[in-house]
Symmetry: D2
Subunit: 462 residues, 4 copies
């Protein structure tokens, strides 16, 4: 038994059967097969180019690997968990297919640099897809923002009505959150896209390999600078998981708002039937399950980041087997984020905005009180005093069940002599919104300008 | 399409295909099938007893569910992810098998209380198994402790040799750590073993159900006290995950020590070949992979706890779909902990202790310096002064490459007049160990007494 | 300089000034002074009883420590961070005050068991206080629950109206959450209340100490069983932090609901002015800051738990200096939880319930649709078919802007022949609530029964 | 009482005294005073430039703020926690000093944009300092790497001897880890250095402010694009905390290695007395406390990241009071990382390398077994067969207590006919190291080339 292992020679006892099960990683890492084959082909070509393999051997290896790829796609590949992992499965099958040359493929590399290479190739693809999905979702947000650039809604702080904003402005806040996420992924990609191949077990190899060649062949920006670091480094996974955690938390914030807005008491939006589900017991229910799951998935993504940090904490160099546990957090995170982005983009166009409900909400919440204070400042009242005057006016309105705009000039004058007839236009929702007319402000003109700058930025990123 | 859902009636549009994939939980929750069937049988019996179902209907349901159980075990069950989850899969198949009565099974319950019931039944079994596995591992530790009750090894703090202890004493420290873990699981079980069944969606039901009956039938200690709480509560998972995290961290500490002790510079132990693996490139390697994986898995377990806490944080009552994401952390944690406990127990007896290396380590590290200080205190020197005297003696030894026991009486007297010939016996490893003769101390007598108390405790727990 | 350290003798170079700053813990651990003094007094008495100190020496130490306690309370104590920590500060001052006997106090113990003792004494007090604060808050919840046992409100799942419940029932859900928290603290206390004193540095001591005596003197249940474990064990902090994290998450869930209910769109409650704050710029704002801070503090508490787990992960035995970093998470957690519990209890009575708004919300959300389905089941319709019928009725109502109770008998009959005139009483909010009349259900009778059981439980816990 | 609040007007009841304590943030945020004053001065100048304030008012404000700055530095500032936070303290004192103009300073801004501005200014400074500290530490690592470029040591994987590397190569692995950390901080700084000032409470302001001016004045790269986002965004703190967590984990890995290498069984290094501490009870101890604390502090830093993510998770826009809890994690993280970097740089030059111990360790661990396998491949043996041959040779050596280089040619031939006399030079440590001569490899030539590239990179970054 022991002798079927790639490392049996030194051992006098076979592996315990529990160990097979406990240490096998095939259930997870078979997902890397495509990248493992790609990496092996590049490695074989380099070995031939460096005259470590003959051209015939290389051709035979490449053909063998390509037929294995096809077999895996077809579902006909004889995966065996006794062979521990995806790397040994493919290599064993290669040798079964092509004989001696198969045994030479592992020359000048080790599983340590091999798995690091596979993971980087996988994650590069995943990040590229997520950058693309972000661009799509951001584009959709711009469309909604444009459509609703003049739609008033209550801007809230502390979940209490604060000042009027537009729904378009709110969508642009989401846009900005995602834009930072995208930038971070772009930054992280630079550190993902480095080739560890050729670092071998930890020290490099005595074969005359050409690491620049394999790096180029696999689309990496450069070979890694230090072999010890290259085989033990999982920073690229952790950095990705960090950015993913923040992105997931953003999506969870956006989901929280959708859930709130779709609740009966808000009714600011209605999410399309196709993106809601019902109840097995309550026939009237239409639940925003998609949004809730997006919110819920952020928990797993944050947990995965913690798993990775705990995993690595205080590990001495170089590779330790602990690192096998890096795959599940990485895959789970990629899946949760990709799935959430896809479905958010699908759901967004199904959302109908109830402008009437939003207007009614903004009109009932003293949302223009700040405008009154700023009006007073314009009349020469220091801000702190103006604040006090308006506070008292609001108190009076609450006690008498009035809105600020309902106050007569006489009533206004009880709070301040500076108030004149021009106050009423200041207290309108539209007046308030229009007045916030500087970069970043909620006035429709500024929102449209922000949309236009954003479109240019997205274009430039494609 | 929409009408195949258990909740189609109110909807005018079918579910989006991405939603099917995004919201299905079958990949995870099918693992609960056994508990789902057990729970449904108890529910059906209660409905019959309460005359909500006829006896015939109940019999037909029970028989149907039992045949489904058998089908699942055989692998012949037609799982369909379009049916969302394990509950709907089983109910749909039941109705397909037995017709009308199948549609009545869901009377007086909801998926909300159903899934909470399934999870509690699952976790109760998992916790019972882990309590058992802890008892096994603790028993094995007692055996090693007994065998090595007199084996000196360097007791370290700050990874520096501090004082001599025995290897048996060290094993008993591990025993204590695990004993607290076991107590915590026993405590948690009391809060797991409560029946939510009959809480229905969130408010209870208008049918005349008998919640005490189902609780009893399923071996729960009592029905839950509040329906809103019962369907939203995931405390039992979080509490379990907390205890599991601490347990995993304990196993990781123990694994860290095994890895260290098995390294070439320590050689305190050798782990059996059956529990080590080799390298694909370095033929001489014998790696403590099992211990490393145990250490590594603690990362995932801590991450799962965080996932659960983030998931629940600030959720309003009652059930929200976010909670679907509770299954993966729970299952992963159970698997990681169960697997780690099993393999630790299998590996422990394979470990050979190198008593010679441990003795040599304890003799080279000034481990009995404290004994010298305590000797001086016995002669009337205040502890702080004694400490200073010994510190200077050690400094002298280091500078002259000596051990404390190598100093002549003349040399000793340069540091303190209080030192006499009886000092040499105090400086032996055996003398030092024997002297720590109080409860909790490292003297073999105390270690054996601790083992004997521990055996009684374990016996009482079985 | 180096010689002023308690450990200078062996060193030939003074400590680097950065090290003083980096390693000092006085800023944090001085908070333990009271427990340090209590522990030292018990230790001194034991030393005298065991004839290691004379009675005079012991008396002198006790008097010295008591006067130091008074000095610290008065603010006159000369804290010095050059003396590293609270223990050395107190011991140095003691020796300055009473001379030689002060230097003998440290006989038979080490800072390792000393700090572990101090922390356990501190945490035992903190846990006792939090158990008390939980009892207080639970009592207040029972009062509100009793007052509002018949107040209908919309029970929600997925933040969508599900079924009518009573506000009292909702309060009792909170009660149950906190009750589990309290149980967990009680369980944890048993594992906190163990005496490590006498474990010395890691191996015990050669002095003839009496660990049972100090354990008893300090109110501990027993001395710890293993000296290596006792000085390295921080489980008691981690277990506490776990329970605190869950408790904080509960408070955060309750706070989330208060914030939601107090928002303009809900208006289910109004929080007293004394527990809200305003805005520096928006004069109308009345923000539920207290609830928001309670919610926010849960983040820190979860983070502290993670800090502790990361800290301990994979540490070899016995004490490592890493453990110094345990104090800040422990203190922060205690403060956040104690503060949150106190203020929640202060705020709760200030909350006014708006019964009208809650009734209007429950009447507008098809909350009794399930009752209609259950009514149909009572008429012999299988549950799944009844669900479908009601789903279609609701769809019809939404499309025609009606409530279920607005449908005419003719309209009802279009969906099912089984519906009769008795349906209208089933569709009332009161009827729905009253019908959920089994243990854990929302009917006022059941809520009152639950309150009565709860009162008994609280009484028994006092 | 209530009227002394900046928001009293609307309230009819004073704040509860517990609330004062619970909601005050002064204990933490006073640390921001310098940035608060700088931000206010820029804001005042902008208001004057935009003719919202007169030049005299602006001058008076600036002078007032500067004198407050001086007061705070001198310790004479009358901090009052009744004034809630650093912002209100400074503003109240300003108004006390200069009268009316003080009340006008808050025109066109809110505490929401003000605190976001302060935090960004603070964090920009902290990040700049940490980038500098990284450059310093990296420079020191290059010096050690250069000095030890030819010093053999055992390269380990799984903490088992794998292949020879040089100590210089190992130091360069550390260098690479820190280099990525530095890059990440540089990337994060771009997202920190954006001006939220002028976003006001959430929607912008109706005053004709000039946000580009204040952005420029404060050294920001640009004003933020969206006011809602700007006041609620804490991404910059979270991103920083993520990078800090990874950096802290790196330092913890480096610390772990120092602790290991300094242990009696390794003795690869000795850390200077000035960076170690002793024991209060064991006079011989010299503990690597600084390294242990660096390792321990990583726990807190990871916990802080989690705190921040939990804090923000699912918060609706815009500002919520939860965010007050962002300061403690940010400050703690900055302090832990800055402190750890400073002391690591101070400690590194105190470390003495024991070349003899490292050589002896590398010679006793079959470290050149891979070289033998690669030698066989050079003779035409497929890699997998070569691996098997060497595995058996090692097994033979272990069983007979030999090193590989001790085997006679006769013994070698029993394992493979391909082995010739030239094998002995392949088995030397120096031969092995020299052979790994490609980019990233451990040969001294490659290490020196890597150092030289690294020096250029550092130079370019200064």
């Amino acid at each position: 038994m022991a002798t079927t292992k790639p490392w049996g020679g030194r051992f006098s006892e076979p592996t315990h059967e529990l160990v097979e099960r406990f240490t096998q990683s095939l259930d997870w890492d078979r997902r890397l097969y495509k990248y493992d084959i790609t990496g092996s082909i590049a490695h074989a070509r380099m070995l031939a180019r460096s005259e470590i393999l003959s051209v015939d051997e290389c051709d035979s290896i490449v053909a063998g690997l390509e037929s294995i790829d096809a077999e895996i796609v077809d579902g006909g590949f004889p995966w065996s968990s006794a062979l521990e992992d995806v790397h040994m499965n493919i290599e064993a099958e290669l040798t079964a297919k092509i004989g001696e040359p198969g045994k030479k493929l592992h020359t000048g590399r080790s599983r340590n640099d091999q798995v690091a290479t596979d993971m980087r190739l996988f994650l590069r693809d995943a990040v590229d897809e997520q950058i693309h999905l972000l661009l799509v979702l951001q584009g959709l947000l711009l469309d909604v923002a444009e459509r609703e650039a003049e739609t008033p809604m209550p801007g809230v702080t502390h979940l209490q009505v604060a000042q009027p904003v537009t729904f378009g402005h709110h969508m642009m806040a989401w846009f900005q959150m995602l834009d930072r996420d995208r930038q971070r992924l772009v930054d992280a990609r630079r550190r993902i896209n480095i080739s560890p191949l050729g670092s071998a077990a930890l020290a490099g190899t005595s074969f005359g390999i050409d690491r620049e060649f394999t790096a180029r062949e696999l689309g990496f920006d450069a070979p890694s600078e230090n072999s010890l670091d290259a085989v033990s480094d999982r920073d690229f996974v952790i950095e990705y998981c960090s950015h993913a955690a923040l992105l997931a938390v953003h999506l969870s914030r956006m989901a929280e708002e959708l859930i709130l807005w779709a609740s009966e008491r808000y009714r600011f939006i209605e999410i399309g039937d196709a993106f809601c589900t019902g109840s097995s017991i309550m026939p009237q229910k239409k639940n925003p399950d998609v949004a809730e799951l997006i919110r819920g998935k952020s928990g797993g993504v944050v947990g995965n980041l913690v798993s990775m940090l705990v995993l690595v904490k205080a590990q001495p160099l170089a590779y330790n087997r602990d690192n096998q546990e890096d795959k599940s957090p990485m895959f789970d995170t990629v899946d949760a984020v990709t799935g959430s982005l896809q479905i958010f983009s699908a759901m967004l166009p199904s959302i109908e905005v109830d402008r009437e409900q939003m207007r009614s909400a903004v009109e009932n919440g003293f949302a223009t009180a700040t405008d009154l204070a700023e009006y007073l400042v314009g009349k020469g009242v220091p801000f702190r005093d103006a604040h006090e005057i308006v506070g008292k006016s609001v108190r009076y309105c609450i006690d008498n069940d009035l809105r600020l705009g309902d106050l007569s000039m006489h009533q206004f004058r009880q709070f301040s002599d500076e108030i004149g007839d021009d106050v009423y236009s200041v207290l309108t929702v539209e007046g308030s919104i229009r007045a916030r007319n500087h970069i970043g402000g909620t006035s429709p003109m500024q929102v449209r300008a922000a949309i236009s700058r954003a479109r240019k930025r997205l274009e430039a990123s494609k």
